[in-house]
């Protein structure tokens, strides 16, 4: 083989390995509150626990709510921004941050909303029309 080809292959392999290594480093794994205690930047998926108080406090400038993770544990979550649009509608939340004691401090929060792309539940609609 020509030296140029060998050099090219080395460059491609080096680039790909570096890319894949960095990619592997930058992705994390979805987890639950219990395991998040050992992580610094944990992604915890779950659903909003609407049986507990929630809301934005003007004093602390934080939005507080409870979330049930996929192991069924409900924990308090503190999010340092206003309550996002459609929060109540989200059928799935992903909070990203860290556990401190029994409270999860979310730096970021993703919401999966039943938007136009998604199925709305028509049974809910029927109830609304009956009322």
């Amino acid at each position: 083989m020509k030296p140029k080809v060998i050099l090219g292959i080395i460059a491609i392999v080096a680039f790909t390995s570096l890319l894949m290594y960095n990619f592997g480093e930058s992705i994390s794994t979805y987890t639950d509150f219990e395991k998040a205690k050992e992580m610094s930047n944990a992604h915890v998926p779950g659903t909003w626990d609407n049986s507990q108080d929630y809301g934005f406090s003007k004093e602390t400038m934080q939005f507080t709510f409870y979330m049930i993770d996929e192991s069924g544990e409900s924990r308090k979550v503190i999010y340092p921004r206003p309550k996002p649009n459609n929060f109540e509608e989200a059928d799935r939340l992903v909070v990203i941050g860290e556990m401190r004691g029994d409270v999860f401090f979310a730096n970021e929060m993703l919401m999966k909303c039943p938007s136009k792309y998604n199925n709305a539940d028509p049974s809910e609609y029927v109830k609304a029309s009956e009322s």
Partner: protein, 835 residues
């Protein structure tokens, strides 16, 4: 209507089925025509192709009609529209859902096919139409909705609610159940930008099919050179459409959503960026192939991969795979397997044909020199392609992340930024050298001489912006340098070309646009600052230094990026603006229940600048009497140097409304509190507050005469307060006393109550705040509770967003000029052939 309705749906299904069958027939004829170079079969194929599209148009017309007639027994109509939707949004609901968007895609692809039929020459004509028909075959199969036992082929837009959810209790009770209203369109999507975004995107998707078809036809017919000229204008057109769609999506996100940016590396955004990048790579190699008969292999592979990228990203966004990682991917319609087969066939055919012919593909006789337009353009194409691969890798995290763990999250945003920045820097530098070499031959020495002035100007610009913009980061400096170099160097070429032949400026114009885009992206994202008052700024700095702890003793790591504004109380923001909240307006709103807030900006000299009008409204589609979901609509003040972006994150009005709703929902109605209690009101000098039918104004401080003061008084002051009773028009002036005196070693406050017997009110001057010379009054006897009127705003200053848009427009302009040039040349070639 309801009796007529079911028939209409069946007609629609039949039309799609006919379209599907005609597509299949035309495929057979095109295949035979391509293999035997048989003109008669080609003609028959063309007729089938035309009919396929006519059936699809008829089916689309029926769907639009059902939507306008509000036939809610159809799931698609029910799910995407409602009675209150304006006609323009009823129309856009046609392509608002997955099924309809497939129809729109097919229609545009069909129209492109008609163009190909008219303009493509032998030997490419039949095979090109064959491959186009093949992609349409897959697309139509997504919406035919045939059921074979447990398996359904495609999801029909004409399926009824009963077919969609046969097990729902209300369907079991009454199979003919027709809902009275639909669920409607998400309020965020009720935007003109979102109306035109999907059609433009699908025009781009449809046109990007054509270079794929040409490449495949070239491989089939072993004609590896001539296909580039007719394919080039289509690729350019596709790129222009995709770019416009990306721009519209970004602009919509910026002015409508509350994340405050135009790009978030969301998989759905990436889905249109990656084909654009690979398509652009293809444009580069096609141009040098046409000019110098090199890079045949890479033109073929990029043309194939650009469309493969579209199909792959379609698979990712529509199969439900991204459900966790994208905020707005489509719902899974059970098309996973079909989409997978589509993707595998398109990819397998493309790469298979390429591999099969690889040995006989032309190779350049000698390798290009580094300082040649061929090498530079080719490198640019490879960089674009690599950037596309990096983004595909990130977007594929739900699949490729499985290599690293069982439940992978999407990569952090930094993954995209870390990789795209160095690639962009190299690209920017290469654009200039490439453009210089494209029009003239240089060696190292002459090139260096030619670049002296551009480099000089670039250095001045970079140094100036580093100083003015207080850029501290060396990496950013390099990036800025590269960006400015692309702007200056390409402008230089642009200037020279426009003197010689303005028709040729397309390329250099796009490269200037690219440079502007780079500089604009850095300025607007890395130097994006929240607008905050001094206290919050100090607090945030302390947080960053790690000095703040919460009551549990944990270190606070989150800064506050919000601003509280009280009615008519200006706040000094960033030492640059006085910002005042001047109330809200509930009348004449375009959405029911909407509040339009009035936020005034003055500069520090007190000169009026402008008002911003952010809005808050209840999301109609998801709100009801028991539960209102508030949504925000930001306002953006666009400027040449910077934008002010602002939205209301909370307000006293919204809080009151929520409390009222909660009270109404409570099982026991809360008793009306007429209980008398002391209220403490804080006043600035000159401020007026309204409580029920009273208006209180704190006029000024008044000296207290020492006669009534106890000995050893250190402070003794009165406040002149006007009390205006609106119903009676009575104005009273009171002057309650506030004094601090010493007795023994201790300080005591003396603030005797002042009674206003005519209204049974009692006042006490309870506190002076020396720092802002405000006072507190305790008032007893008021029937109503004083409520502060406040808003919580999130405001950001984004420098040079205008440059991002300007760069995008230049890119669009450059692409348009190139389309005209290449299209014009193609047309003149055809007239030569005919005449």
């Amino acid at each position: 209507m309801t009796e007529f309705g079911p028939v209409t749906g069946i007609v629609g299904k039949v039309l799609i089925t006919l379209s599907f069958l005609f597509c299949l027939l035309s495929l057979i004829y095109y295949f035979l025509a391509a293999r035997g170079e048989d003109d008669k079969k080609l003609k028959i194929g063309n007729w089938m192709f035309v009919f396929k599209g006519l059936f699809m148009i008829a089916a689309s017309a029926i769907l639009v009609m059902l939507i306008f007639q509000h036939q809610f027994q159809y799931y698609y109509v029910f799910n995407y529209t409602s009675l209150d939707l304006a006609p323009k949004y009823l129309f856009s609901a046609f392509y608002g859902g997955q099924e309809g968007s497939f129809m729109l895609w097919i229609l545009f692809s069909w129209i492109a096919g008609l163009g190909l039929m008219r303009w493509t020459r032998a030997p490419y004509k039949a095979p090109v139409l064959f491959f186009l028909g093949l992609t349409q075959f897959f697309l139509i199969s997504m919406i035919v909705g045939w059921r074979f036992g447990d398996f359904t082929l495609g999801a029909s837009p004409f399926r009824t609610i009963a077919e969609e959810m046969p097990n729902a209790p209300f369907i079991q009770a009454n199979p003919d159940f027709v809902p009275a209203d639909g669920t409607g369109l998400n309020d965020l999507l009720k935007s003109p930008w979102m109306m035109i975004h999907p059609p433009i995107l699908f025009v781009g998707f449809a046109m990007m099919t054509i270079p794929y078809c040409f490449a495949m036809a070239a491989l089939w017919k072993r004609k590896y050179n001539e296909w580039v000229s007719p394919a080039l204008p289509w690729t350019l057109g596709s790129n222009l459409s995709l770019l416009t769609a990306i721009f519209l999506g970004g602009y919509w996100a910026y002015v409508t959503l509350s994340f405050g940016g135009f790009w978030a590396w969301d998989p759905v955004e990436n889905a249109s960026l990656v084909p654009w990048l690979i398509g652009t790579a293809g444009i580069h190699t096609m141009i040098i192939q046409r000019k110098s008969s090199v890079a045949q292999k890479s033109s073929l592979i990029f043309a194939i991969l650009a469309y493969v990228a579209i199909v792959y990203e379609t698979f990712l966004t529509r199969s439900g795979i991204l459900a966790d990682s994208s905020v707005h991917s489509f719902v899974d319609l059970g098309l996973y397997n079909q989409l997978l087969i589509f993707m595998l066939v398109i990819t397998g055919l493309g790469l298979g044909m390429f591999a099969w012919r690889y040995k006989e593909l032309p190779s350049p006789e000698k390798e290009s020199k580094i300082l040649s337009r061929e090498f530079m353009t080719f490198t640019g194409a490879v960089l674009l392609f690599v950037l596309g691969l990096v983004i595909i890798l990130g977007t594929s995290s739900p699949i490729l992340g499985l290599l690293f763990n069982e439940n992978p999250t999407p990569p952090e945003i930094s993954f995209y930024n870390d990789w795209s920045m160095p690639i962009a820097i190299v690209m920017a530098l290469f654009t200039v050298i490439g453009q210089y070499l494209f029009w003239k031959k240089y060696d190292l020495e002459t090139l260096a001489t030619a670049l002296v002035y551009p480099l000089l100007i670039t250095s001045i610009l970079t140094i100036a912006s580093v100083i003015i913009g207080e850029v501290r980061n060396a990496y950013y400096m390099l990036y800025l340098f590269a960006g400015f170099f692309a702007i200056v160097g390409n402008s230089w070429v642009l200037g020279r070309l426009s003197l010689q032949n303005p028709k040729l400026i397309g390329g250099s114009l796009t490269h200037v646009g690219f440079g502007l885009l780079l500089v604009g992206i850095l300025a607007s994202s890395a130097y994006n600052r929240p607008l905050l008052d001094k206290n919050t700024e100090d607090y945030n700095e302390a947080v960053l230094r790690g000095e703040i702890t919460d009551p549990q003793g944990f270190r606070v790591s989150q800064t506050i990026d919000m601003l509280e504004l009280k009615l008519n109380q200006p706040k000094l923001i960033n030492n640059q603006y006085w910002v005042t909240y001047e109330g809200y307006d509930l009348s004449n709103q375009n959405r029911p229940g909407q509040q339009t807030y009035k936020i005034r900006f003055d500069n520090t000299d007190g000169k009026f600048l402008y008002y911003l009008y952010p809005e808050v409204y209840p999301m109609l589609a998801t709100s009801n009497a028991e539960n209102v979901n508030w949504s925000v609509d930001p306002d953006v003040r666009t400027g040449l140097m910077s934008d002010i972006y602002l939205y209301v994150a909370g307000s006293s009005f919204v809080e009151d409304r929520n409390e009222q709703i909660e009270k109404r929902n409570a099982v026991q109605p809360a008793s009306d509190q007429v209980e008398e209690q002391v209220q403490t009101l804080k006043f600035q000098k000159g401020e007026t507050k309204e409580v029920g039918s009273f208006r209180f104004s704190f006029v000024d401080f008044v000296q207290a005469d020492s006669v009534n003061l106890p000995p050893n008084t250190s402070i003794g002051i009165r406040a002149r307060v006007e009390v205006f009773h609106e119903p009676s028009g009575q104005l009273n002036i009171i002057e309650p006393l506030f004094a601090i005196f010493m007795e023994g070693d201790q300080n005591y406050v003396m603030s005797p109550p002042v009674n206003l017997t005519s209204h049974e009110l009692s006042f006490q001057f309870s506190k002076v705040n020396p720092e802002d010379s405000s006072i507190e009054l305790e008032i007893l006897g008021l029937d109503e509770v004083y409520e502060d009127d406040w808003v919580l705003v999130v405001a950001e200053k984004k420098p040079f967003i205008s440059v991002v848009w300007a760069g995008t427009f230049l890119l669009m302009g450059g692409f348009s000029i190139s389309i005209f040039r290449h299209w014009g040349r193609e047309r003149s070639k055809q007239t030569e052939v005919i005449s």
